[in-house]
Symmetry: C2
Subunit: 416 residues, 2 copies
């Protein structure tokens, strides 16, 4: 624990969410409360790339009001990136880390808050002789980080999907006698069915939508899927399906692969919904509609979960408090104390226990037939979507903040 | 004008909206205020088909509270249909109309409120010797009815699309340095670009999204579209496109045709967004994402426009008042008195001047380059999305009403 006043670096890396700016708000507002210990909070323009490029944003140039408005603004206010730092063990990898340290040193950065890269950076300090206090902050709509009960960002996507399923189902139910019989909503979740499971919250009674959820965890059984779709249409009049983009065949192939890969080598997915819709029409002859919410779901700040917003802010605040308390190489976490009434508190976990561990959805969250959620899943999910936290509106649309994002003067040569 | 107490028939036919139940609420609540003149309001189960099948719902069996909750519930509470009554001039057509009159007579129905079929039914009364007071009530997300300034349902879709574009654009902007460069949102609007135009409301400053709107009114020029997409990515860093499902080539072909036709012989569309996305990747090499909101947009009661909800209720109320005032064969309308401040009042127009007329979007609403909206469009659209009217929530999701929908005992033989 250093008692000297040093600057902080905050990076929004990886996929953004509806509430990651609420975390930024928590970080910056808390740092401002401790201006005796923390100088300027620099944000990386486009996340960790901003550090590599020495492209820093001076958040100190923003008014308190502008920072406060981050709480209700989706997306990443300083930019984010899909960029994977090389492994420290790669020869070329160490170059990147040396550069990070050079930038930190040049700008007297002693605190590093991030989501995706905190663990790697934390390994640097000792090795390269420049101690940096590294705190991880959870955020991902995928809800797949270990050691935390949930990841800020997830609760709001979960709410968006639950709301959308309930609403679209009312539309389909109205028209099913003479129009669409099968409606399919494709949702995010490459490797785990957390988001698809949230669609299950829309169901209150037996015949409510969603009637089928297609999880990545359950190998897709075409015959069973079609038989259930048919039985549902015959009994209820229509069938609403929530399909995860990560749905797979038994051999591991994704149901729909848009081709191409991202910077992490992940396949770029898309199109499970149209694929299933064509299957339904081809085999069962039903009229279909489908929707693919894509970024709309993870940017939907207008229908954010109040719980999620509160937790997003809290982990940002807690990250700064952990740093000031002399903790290092830990991630701020959310600890659940009870489901009902929902009680939670902040905690922390070693970054090394978080890194490279993907938290799967518990098997007990998926019903035995593989197409719906269990009561245990509902107990877990319901508190995360609870409460509404509406942004301000001007002229009928949300009045989201946009920051000036003043650049900090460079002190180093360009990094090639 | 009859002073005897007679029953009313209300049908929710055609595509439903986020606020058509607010209209039902206006009809039923107003009828209940006039129980000396109007007996029971019967609703057709699945719209006009409910009349043909003598499948009537007794709305009198619902409590005032249940009816009040319709105001905040999307979809069609009594069911709707895609069913086109035959022309009166077809030999077989008259059979359907005779059946309607038989059902009306059997249930002492003297008032008929509907959206899609009011004009045809109004032609019956004199010809078949059973006078029915017929009042049309505008509703369609397509906003294409003549004689009314807007159609309830449209304002809420417009708001949903404006909100979604603004939110998704913040996500794309955050990530564009290393990830998605082009994002395409496909919206409804088979023949007119009203809904696509609403996406334009998200733009406040020159480089804000949407950067391009693909209207059905403007023949798609692939070369121009690609050139503008490229210039936008190069200048802004990313490009957000709103594409109407009704976008067409110069020869009139839809850009994307999902194959098949509906009961009206319209092509079932879908897939403009993936088609444009593939074009962008193939010709420009940019990473893309796309979303297709489909029913989510027209069912999105959670983000309904307060103006739209108020107008939807008002036209329902006004339809009953027109009937009681002895008017017949008219549609309740919305008349705009001024844009800013926005002032409107209720009016009416002869059904014969509404039927079979499709209101196109004014040419002056599309910019000269064909890819954005003008100030005139903004003046028209902005008041329609103004205000929020949030539904109640329980357990984190909207608590939408579901009615008992008690059937009325049949008095006639089945209609074959």
């Amino acid at each position: 624990m250093s008692s000297a006043r040093r600057n902080a670096f905050y990076a929004q890396s990886g996929g953004v969410t509806a509430v990651i700016n609420a975390t930024a708000c928590g970080v910056i507002e808390t740092a401002r409360l401790h201006s005796d210990r923390i100088g300027t909070v620099f944000a990386g323009r486009n996340g960790i790339l901003g550090a590599l490029r020495e492209d820093l944003i001076d958040t100190g140039a923003e008014t308190d009001e502008a920072i406060a408005r981050l709480r209700t603004t989706p997306g990443g206010a300083f930019g984010s990136c899909r960029y994977k730092l090389k492994s420290l063990d790669e020869a070329d990898g160490e170059r990147e880390y040396r550069r990070l340290i050079d930038v930190f040193r040049a700008h007297d950065i002693g605190y590093f808050d991030s989501q995706d890269t905190a663990h790697k950076v934390s390994l640097l300090g000792e090795r390269l002789g420049y101690p940096v206090v590294c705190i991880g902050i959870p955020k991902t709509v995928d809800n797949d980080l270990a050691m935390t009960d949930t990841c800020p960002g997830f609760g709001s996507v979960a709410k968006y999907v639950g709301v959308s399923v309930r609403e679209a189902a009312l539309d389909v139910a109205s028209m099913c006698d003479t129009s669409t019989k099968v409606f399919i909503l494709e949702v995010m979740g490459r490797h785990a069915g957390w988001i698809a499971a949230a669609g299950g919250l829309a169901k209150r009674h037996r015949d409510d939508a969603p009637h089928l959820i297609v999880f990545p965890e359950v190998p897709f059984d075409e015959v069973d899927f079609l038989a259930r779709t048919k039985r549902t249409v015959e009994r209820v009049g229509y069938c609403v399906v929530v399909a995860s983009e990560g749905a797979r065949h038994a051999d591991g192939r994704f149901l729909a692969d848009a081709g191409g890969t991202d910077a992490f080598g992940h396949a770029q997915l898309g199109g499970v919904a149209p694929m299933l819709a064509q299957l339904v029409r081809g085999r069962l002859g039903y009229k279909f509609h489908w929707a693919l919410a894509d970024y709309l779901q993870r940017a939907a700040r207008h229908i954010a979960s109040a719980t999620d917003v509160e937790q997003a802010y809290a982990v940002g605040r807690h990250a700064v408090e952990l740093a000031l308390a002399g903790r290092n190489a830990v991630m701020a976490t959310i600890v659940r104390n009870s489901d009902e009434p929902y009680r939670w508190q902040l905690g922390d976990a070693p970054l090394e226990r978080v890194a490279n561990v993907e938290r799967k959805m518990p098997k007990a969250f998926i019903s035995r037939d593989g197409f719906s959620i269990t009561k245990a899943a509902r107990r877990y999910l319901e508190p995360l979507v609870a409460g509404e936290d509406y942004p301000p509106y001007v002229d009928g649309l949300p009045d989201y903040a946009s920051l000036a994002n003043h650049p900090v003067a460079r002190r180093l040569e360009r990094f090639p």
